[in-house]
Symmetry: C2
Subunit: 150 residues, 2 copies
Amino acid sequence: MTNVTANPSEDAAIRELRDGLTDAIRRKDADRVVSYFSDAPVMYILSPPLQFAGDEGPGKDGVKEWFDSFEGPIGYDIRDLHIVAGADVAFCHSLIRISGTRRGGDPTDIWVRETLGLRKLDGAWKIAHQHQSVPFYMDGSNKAAVDLKP
Amino acid sequence: MTNVTANPSEDAAIRELRDGLTDAIRRKDADRVVSYFSDAPVMYILSPPLQFAGDEGPGKDGVKEWFDSFEGPIGYDIRDLHIVAGADVAFCHSLIRISGTRRGGDPTDIWVRETLGLRKLDGAWKIAHQHQSVPFYMDGSNKAAVDLKP
């Protein structure tokens, strides 16, 4: 995939959105996190179920719960962000390192893959779809590969 | 997310592509599978590593190897396909049931989530990004949730 996109200004707008989402997560600002999403996004998240669709998604309460599961700050760093933007539909993908101390004292430090599907709605880009995952070892253990580094 | 898309004809073209990919996998036709992808797609697949990018991807040999890992046919069924298409950028996501008998005799039957990022290049839609995953249980086991059903 080349770095040439059809719409450099839309590319910049989506980069700004992704940076805003990163900042909101680091600040544990659930209202701001939710503001980047469309109504009823379809979400494939790290833990079951397979999907959240319609109004059943984790929403602001789910985001808050996730924030509260960390003692203190959440480390959140992105690399290999690729953005492909059209006039009103876009997708982007990246690798994200999530680290910190879970409530109870267990340290966590994991690299995940993320793909976002975005739509420009009423002049503003919104995340309509989020897919986050880690791969798993197909060696019979079926263990999630939480120890990988890019 | 509503079912209204900006470009119903592009929506139909991508549905045709996704149906073609399904058919190619059921027929174990690696050449045809690869034909639906752009050059050097960025891929997040079910097993490690975190990503394939550039020319390092699994390619036709990787697809053939995967096909050969099944004795006989591959069961491949899609549901909840959502397509969001612009004029030259699109994404779609769905749940896919992959079933069959692995070489050696072990049966497999797993639901996975898939997101595709697509670009219209020289008049034809191509998959520039594929993200497939299962979630994992955050109960301390870190086991991939290969037993989920939608």
